[in-house]
């Protein structure tokens, strides 16, 4: 009897160990296979030129349009969702702190919105654009991505702001500061490391998403000079190049994938560094 019990535990412990290993291995495997396939075809010309005449037949040119376009689009979307997200997250945790039910309802709605697939945002955005006769553009893409990123950013910020002790709020208010001052001068500073992580997380989401900009941002060989022009993006550039039958173009898709992976990894590492560095300035309770 006892032996059976022990065997069962051993058996499951081995299984557990291996499933943990599988997850770790999956990440290494994914990154390694993308780098292995893409690194050989990456070149300086590719990173610094926009597509030339025969680009889509495998001739000269690069993906600078997609790199810059992606940076424009996701920076714009991050800034816009910051302008909506930070006030909302602060409002929930400073002004509404006594209305727990309302705050929980907002969280619930945000969680629901977080779950909405980005293709739904994309399709909706496109429908709105056709209704008003707006053409695909950087601005339209940015707004669509903003809608999709807001719930992610607010919830991430909310998780951080939630952890601020009530005592800090009370002492700030008792010294005569208004709620808005408490929010921006106390809560914002106290949570700066966590908030910057939330912003970087949102940036990573914005730059990686393809489904929401498939119909709204368009695609172009040029770097946009104003918000009403269409814009190329890395995920779509990878997607389109990979569906080409020409091997050279496919190679470039793999190289573009390397660029995207590196941007994502750098964002992730940066956000970790931020949250470690600013930890020192934090008031501890």
């Amino acid at each position: 009897m006892i032996q059976k019990k022990e065997f069962e535990e051993k058996f499951f412990r081995v299984l557990m160990f291996f499933s943990t290993l599988i997850i770790a291995a999956a990440l290494i495997f994914i990154i390694f296979s993308v780098l292995y396939k893409g690194l050989p075809s990456i070149s300086w010309e590719m990173l610094t030129q926009v597509p030339e005449g025969g680009f889509y037949f495998g001739r000269e040119g690069g993906i600078l349009n997609a790199i810059v376009g992606s940076l424009y689009l996701s920076t714009g979307a991050t800034v816009m969702s910051f302008l909506v997200g930070l006030p909302l997250a602060l409002y929930m945790n400073v002004h509404l702190v006594r209305y727990g039910k309302l705050v929980n309802t907002i969280r619930f709605i945000l969680d629901l919105l977080w779950g909405v697939p980005s293709i739904v945002y994309g399709a909706f955005g496109f429908a709105v654009m056709t209704y008003f006769g707006i053409r695909v553009s950087l601005l339209a893409g940015t707004i669509t991505v903003t809608l999709f990123v807001i719930p992610i950013m607010v919830r991430a910020m909310d998780e951080i702001l939630k952890s601020v002790p009530v005592g800090l709020l009370e002492s700030s208010l008792s010294l005569g500061s208004t709620r808005a001052e408490t929010a921006y001068k106390v809560f914002f500073r106290q949570c700066l490391p966590g908030l910057s992580t939330a912003v970087l997380l949102s940036f990573g989401r914005a730059i990686g998403d393809a489904a929401s900009i498939l119909f709204t941002a368009g695609f172009t060989d040029y770097i946009p000079t104003s918000p009403d022009q269409p814009v190329a993006t890395l995920p779509l550039s990878i997607f389109f190049q990979l569906s080409s039958p020409i091997p050279q173009v496919q190679e470039r898709a793999y190289a573009s994938a390397v660029v995207l992976v590196i941007i994502i990894l750098v964002t992730s590492i940066l956000s970790r560094m931020f949250s470690h560095r600013y930890q020192k300035n934090k008031i501890n309770f």
Binding site: K5, T20, P117, V128, L147, L214
Partner: protein, 307 residues
């Protein structure tokens, strides 16, 4: 004397005005988020009404004929493909997540958790198009060259199974994060009580912890499924996109999000087609919303029970 009072009051007014302005903007943001889901539903419903009025909803959902040019839209094929891919992905990801979560919260040393945290985070942050690239590079050839022939079938590799494997890895970090939270939140007194009665560690985990965490586990799986159901680009790249009802794991499929992504934008000249794709988006939205709603409700309920 008057000057001093005026200065003080001016500062006061400025600060109060500032406060009012901030609160005003905050409330606008709040209202924006509150009405966003309703705008989404209203917009999609408005667009898809054209088709719903032309064909009964049951026929749209359960008919297999997809002939846009003839004006016949049956979503059954696509819905079934989506269901297949989603359930398979959960079958792969579910057990792995559960076992890993138990391992990380009960058995593993602290450094393992410290290593696994960034791994899970990065896995969650990898864009879906990269998963798609990986699927084309690794999963599709593996199924086409090894797994298919192993079962005596000659297949291209672009299949339901490939979509499910890629999806499974995409939803693993998502489910795992929730599961770890849930296992961490189980009060330690429960395990202590169980162990003090003579139960072993594994017995305690199996009979006390997992039992206590069951609502959480169910809802984590529900959230994972809804994530998988709406995932677009990665699945689109590996699933084959053939509009037929898949009869086996190695057959290609055509899930709903892929249908929208492949056809939307070009088919505006046919208003009915446009309306049909909007309906597809609405179906996605509603299904995902129901799954999310149910799962979150279970989590909230069980949290209340614990507290």
């Amino acid at each position: 004397m008057n000057r001093a009072v005026m200065r003080v009051s001016r500062i006061r007014v400025g600060r109060l005005l500032q406060d009012k302005l901030h609160v005003f903007w905050m409330q606008i943001c709040l209202v924006l988020v509150f009405i966003l889901p309703f705008i989404l539903v209203a917009g999609m419903l408005y667009k898809s009404l054209l088709l719903i009025e032309a064909q009964p909803l049951t026929e749209l959902l359960f008919s297999k004929t997809w002939k846009p040019m003839a004006g016949r839209f049956g979503f059954y094929t696509f819905i079934i493909s989506s269901v297949w891919v989603t359930i398979l992905a959960l079958l792969i990801a579910g057990p792995i997540c559960l076992l890993t979560a138990i391992h990380l919260t009960q058995y593993a040393k602290r450094w393992v958790l410290r290593v696994m945290h960034p791994i899970i985070d990065i896995l969650a942050g990898i864009p879906s198009v990269i998963y798609g690239v990986w699927g084309i590079l690794v999963v599709v050839p593996f199924i086409g060259n090894y797994l298919g022939p192993f079962f005596g079938k000659s297949v291209s590799g672009y299949s339901i199974l490939a979509g499910a494997i890629v999806l499974a890895i995409m939803i693993i970090p998502f489910i795992l994060n929730i599961l770890i939270e849930i296992f961490k939140n189980i009060p330690p007194e429960l395990s202590e009580a169980s162990m003090s009665l003579g139960a072993g560690k594994w017995q305690t985990i199996k009979l006390v912890q997992v039992k206590k965490a069951l609502p959480g586990i169910v809802s984590a799986f529900g959230l994972g499924m809804s994530r998988a159901f709406g995932e677009t680009i990665a699945v689109l790249m590996v699933v084959g996109n053939v509009a037929q009802i898949p009869k086996g794991l190695f057959q290609p499929g055509y899930p709903l999000p892929a249908l929208i992504a492949n056809n939307y934008g070009e088919m505006l000249s046919i208003p009915m087609y446009d309306s049909a794709l909007m309906l597809a988006a609405l179906i996605l939205f509603v299904v995902v919303l129901i799954f999310n709603f149910a799962s979150r409700l279970i989590i909230v309920k069980s949290e209340k029970q614990l507290a």
